[in-house]
Each structure stands twice: as structure tokens, then as C-alpha cells.
Symmetry: none
Subunit: 201 residues, 4 copies
DNA sequence: GGCTAATCGAGACGGTACGTCTCGTCTTGTT
DNA sequence: AACAAGACGAGACGTACCGTCTCGATTAGCC
């Protein structure tokens, strides 16, 4: 839990406009849907948001950072990992939730664009991996930890490989094959990952 | 069956310069290593290649297309899928070969950049998926077909899902975690995919 | 009568940089002297002025407009038409002043280039005729009006023809024969135009 | 009189195509009327003429040279200077003929464009002055010589100044004021130049 | 009838400037 | 201070022509 100092740091001058912040996030989200990531520009977002470009540069290092925040603000990206009683059930629920998110055209497009930008812009890559990808891995890791505690986890593959397989298949479908994230894939993943190749961890 | 006359191309005018083509591909490959994809420019490639910009625009729709061709020209991207006697051995060999390619820093960077560009530029995306990604899937599909013929293939996961898992894990490590494509991952993938969850296909 | 309020421009945002404006005019003037009008480029002027090309395009429609303003800023193009007591003396002074201007190699070259550009670029032609040629005609017209008021003006040629003859001879020497604008020509023009062919207007 | 060696140099190989030459001149003439001199290009002329660019570059140094030859081929630029019995009559006839030519919109536009090009391109300027402007001056000089022989020529202005005044007024109207070359101007010029300011030469 | 040579249409080549676009920064007056 | 506005230096974009350079196909003398 974050314990923010109740006395605000006694800042001087005008405070950051929450109105501008929201307008910028909304504008970014709208525009990426209208013109696509390739044609997104800072100038376009500022114009749509009715703000100056400087206001964007002052608070975000790049357009991708804006979009990442806009995505977080719009979509509830946080998948549940409640206890469903078994590794298979937990895994199925996690994958089902994740796939559901990726089935939205706009959200999927933005995710792909951000992953793309992470390859091209190293600074954003750091942030995207730490703030977004890492969080998703951690969420699934909780499921694996619970399974291990239960003695429910197959000996193979190793937990990090499970993460690579689940998220790998997800992202590969999004970016490479553009096939829908359907239940068949989800079921096959669960079956494959829960059918022990020998013992448990 | 189309019986195209090896038709007298009846070309008039000066022919395309093979020398320029090679110089451009080489320049693109060198520059992406020196300055990175983010700072690659058509002007830079033309200057390095000693050619006019128009010569690039005349033959390639975008910088990414140049890079894709340069990659194909430089790296032998075609992984073998010879018969090693069993599904497990075939799969292990295919994955091993694929990982070996992706361990080269430069090739890996270019692959990530091209996959990124495929997300941003729809036109290039088409080409990249059809000319590159599709070929790799087809190569692995041969392995699966051989295993099915042998009665060696587990009932689950379905073949397309096998492709998604293998390539998904590969690309996810390249782009998301940037963990090395090590033998542990390869071994775990083979184990997971060859340990039948029930019968064979 | 237009009574324009010196209205509070209420300008927002950064103002036009007078420093850039002067640097651009100076660069244009220098470069036309160094490389000639044929090899003058917007890029060259911007580089010499240390400004971006956009700053030129933002304020001038074409290179010729820049040069016209540069000329006006550098050379005092405005010939006096003070009263010397007689039509002949006024005319001689005006022609003498005009010729003196045209004797400068650089100014003459720029004038020829601008007149040339006025033939090729209709938009610039409008401006050049209205802002430059028209002013010079008006200045000489003042001399003719004063002569007419004095009863000093020959009946022929008609005033507009006087303008055509004086400026015609001047420009024709500059552009066609490239003969110097010498006193002999000035004297002959005055003699011819002041020797009445019958009465006064 | 040019005494060309009657025996042709015994050339070998294919001869210059008269067909192409005519097609190029015609294309240049048509295009300058359709798109204007500013948008005239060698490529456009070649395309219209159905010839290769090299065929133009082989025979003319620049587009302006083509246009000059096209003009000579289309318009009969040579004004008569037959003997009409008096200086005034000869001069009036010469000016009338010259003005008639300049009244054609297309011819006038081409003349202005060529004079413009002569200011910008020194090499063409040489040719234009020697081949075109000089010829016109020579033609009027014949009229002056005849008048001098007759004892018909006013003492002032000096003959070269007469040329400057006549052609100056003509070109100035074409290029600067764009006023029509009307009879009023012609009459005023004749009156002014034939009303002796004292004696004859 | 071959041979050699010059020209032809076609069109790719290395260059270069164009005018546009967007970047990220800087400078205004306002809030 | 932060804000909206908007000009600034910078520099890549993709296009348009430049003038040159192959190409194969003609078309002429000459042997």
C-alpha cells in the first residue's frame, strides 16, 4: 500500500491539469483507432486534445508511453488469478481472461503497436517490459506458485518455460498469424501444460 | 496448369543493375548493425550504397522490404527438417537450428525490427507473414506430417497449436523477455510436446 | 477610407524571429552573388542562414520573393524625384539616379533574375509588377505630372509612352544588350523626350 | 554567305531523323502552350514527341534552345524592312510588323520565357542574343542606314539609342506592363524618333 | 551480303532540390 | 509553474527531373 505524504510537497506554481491529462489519453486512444498507430503523431494528439505539444512532452517521454497509459486507463488489463481449486482450473481461467482481452480489435492493435515500439525504441522497451509484460508474468507466476504449493505442478516444463509458452502463443497469434485467440488454443495449452511428463515439482 | 512461355522478356532500355541491388542490400545490413533500426533511413542506405534514392524506391516499397531481402541474402534462414528417425529427434533438431539463428545478435535484432514493422505497416505485414513467417511454419509442418505418418504424433496439442507454441516461445523470448534461446527451453519444449496426453493421431 | 484599428494583435505563441528574417535575407543576397541566381536554392539559403527550410516557406512563397525583399532591404531602390525647376532637369536627374542603380553588377544581376522569374512564375510576376515595377513608374509619373502642371510637357509622346521608353531602354540594356547604362544614353533620352514635336500638354 | 563544303563529310551510320526533329519541335511548341514554360520538361517533350531523351540532348544543349528553334520554325520572325520612301514610313512599317508578332499570346509568352532564360542561363543567353536579338537589331539598322544615306535621319538620338528605344519599349510592354502593343505606342514612337531635335546626320 | 558505325526509343542509373511533414525545443501571454 | 499557441532548427520523407549510361533495334555507307 502506498503511503503518500498527506502534506503535498508544498509545490509552487500551477498544478498539473488533470483535465489535460485525461483529454490527451482520450485523444490518443481515439486517434489510434481512427488513423492507426502508423499515422499517430504528437501534433495530432495535441490538436485533438486541445492542448499544446509541450504539455505532452512535459509528462510523457514518447507517444508510446501515452498510449500505454491510455490503454491502462481504458481497458482493465488486470486479469484475475483467483484460486479455482486446481492448477488446471486456475490456468484455464487465466488464459481465458487473457484471451478475452486480446480478442478486442482495438486493444489487440494497440498491444501489437506497443510491442512493436518496444523493439524499436529501447527506452520505451524498458518501460513496457517492466510495467506491462512483467506484471502479466507475475500474475501467472502466482498461479504456478499456488500449484507448486499444492503439489499440483508437473515436473516439466519449468515454470519460466510455462510462462514463455502461454504468453508466447498469445503474442504469436496476435502478431504473427492473426488467428483468433479461440478456446481450442486455450484448451490445448491447458492440456499440454497440465499433462505431467513425470512427477510434480 | 499454366504453361507460361519462358516468354522473350522483350525488355527494352537499360536493365536493372545487379551491382546496385547488392550494394543496397549490403548497405542496409551494415547500417542496421551500426545505427540500429530506429535510425535507419532510406537516405542513409542510398548514401552508403552509392546510389540514388529513386533506385531504392523503384524496386522496394519500403525500407523493411529491403531489410527482409538483405536478411534473406545474408543469413541462411532456411532451417533443415531432415528425417532423424523420430518426432522427438526431428523436433529437437528443428528447434535447435531455429534457436541457433536467433542467437545471433544482429539477426535477432533485425527479426524483431521486421516483426515490429509488420505490426505498424500493414502492407509490409502481408509480405512478412507470407514470405517469411509462413515459410518457417511450413518447414515445421513437414516435421509434423512425417510424425503423423509414422504414428508418432501425440493427440494433443493439435498441429497448428504445436506451431504456435514453438514459434510463440521463440519470438516471445526474442521480443519480450530477451532471454537467451537456450537448450533448457529447447529441451522443455520437446519434452512437453512429445509427451502424449493420450494416444497418437 | 479604411480606418484599421492598430488592433491589439492579441497574438499568442512565439513571434516571428526578426533575427531569422534578417539572416535569410542576408544569406540570399550573399549567395546570389557567390553562385548566381541559377544555382540559388532554398536549401542553400537555409543552410547559410542557419535556419530550417520551413522558416523560409512559412513567410515567403518562393525564392524570388525572398530575393525581392532582400534587394529592397539592401539597396535603396527609391530614386528621388525632387523638383529641379524644369522637366528636362527633373527627367535627367531621375534617369541618372536610375542608371546609377543599374550600374552595380550585383544589383543589375538580381534585377534581371527577378524580371526573368516574373515571366516564368505568374504568382511572383504579380508581386514584382505591383510592388516593384509599379512603384518605379509612379515615381517617374510624379515628374511628368509636375511638368504638365508647369506647362512644360511636350504634346508627344503621351505620358505612358514616356514611361515605356525610359524604363524600356533601361531594362533592354540590362537584359538584352548588356551595354552599360552610360550618360550618352541618358542624354539622348532626355533630348528626345523634351524636344517637343509640337506644343505642350 | 556561308560556303558549306558541298561534299557531305561522307558520314557513316544512321542519319539524324528529320521526323524526330520535327516531332520534338512540335511537341515543345504544343506543350509550352498547354502547361507553360515553368512546367516544361525535357521528359515531357520526349514523351509527347515519342522519342528518347537522348535524342533531344544529342542535338540541343537545353530546352530553351529547342524552344528557340521551335519558335523560328513556327513563326516567321523576320520582319520586312523594305524601302517605303522615307525614314518615318520605314520605321512605322518595321515597328508595325514587330508589334504584330508580339500580339500573339503564345509567341509573346515564348519570347518572354526565352528572354527570361537568357538571364538565368548564360550559355543560352549568348545564343539568344547572337541568333535572335542581334538579327532584329540588324534589321532595324538597315532602316537607319538607309535614312542616313537619304539624309533623313535626325541628329538625335544616336542610332544605337534608337534601337534601344524601339526594342526597349517593345520588350518592356511584353514583360513588364503586359499592355498591348497598340498603334498608339507605335505612332508615338515614330513621331518621337523622327521629329528632329536639330539637323540630320 | 556481311561489317562497322551512328542514331533511334526505352528506361534504369547517380544525383540533387523540391516542398511537406513531424520532431522536440523555445518563446510568447494567460491562468 | 503549468497552460495553449505557435514559430523555431533540424532533418527524413517521397517525388520530380536532371543529364548520363546501357540496352536491342534500325539504318546507313563500305568492303
Amino acid at each position: 500500500m502506498v503511503m503518500e505524504q498527506p502534506p503535498p510537497p508544498a509545490r509552487r506554481g500551477r498544478r498539473r491539469s488533470e483535465e489535460s491529462r485525461m483529454a490527451i489519453l482520450a485523444a490518443a486512444f481515439e486517434l489510434v483507432g481512427e488513423v492507426g498507430y502508423a499515422d499517430l503523431t504528437i501534433e495530432g494528439i495535441a490538436a485533438r486534445a486541445g492542448c499544446g505539444k509541450q504539455t505532452i512532452y512535459r509528462w510523457w517521454p514518447s507517444m508510446a508511453h501515452v498510449l500505454l497509459e491510455a490503454l491502462a486507463a481504458k481497458a482493465d488489463l488486470y486479469v484475475t488469478n483467483a484460486d479455482h481449486g486446481s492448477y488446471a482450473a486456475d490456468l484455464r481461467a487465466f488464459i481465458g481472461d487473457s484471451f478475452r482481452l486480446g480478442r478486442g480489435r482495438l486493444v489487440a492493435d494497440i498491444l501489437c503497436a506497443l510491442m512493436a515500439q518496444a523493439q524499436i525504441d529501447a527506452e520505451f522497451g524498458e518501460v513496457f517490459r517492466a510495467d506491462f509484460l512483467r506484471r502479466r508474468r507475475d500474475a501467472l507466476q502466482v498461479v504456478l506458485d499456488r500449484a507448486a504449493a499444492r503439489g499440483d505442478l508437473p515436473a516439466s516444463p519449468a515454470p519460466p518455460v510455462v510462462l514463455d509458452i502461454v504468453f508466447g502463443a498469445l503474442w504469436y497469434r496476435l502478431m504473427a498469424t492473426r488467428q483468433p485467440l479461440d478456446d481450442a488454443l486455450a484448451d490445448d495449452l491447458v492440456t499440454t501444460l497440465t499433462t505431467a511428463s513425470g512427477g510434480t515439482r
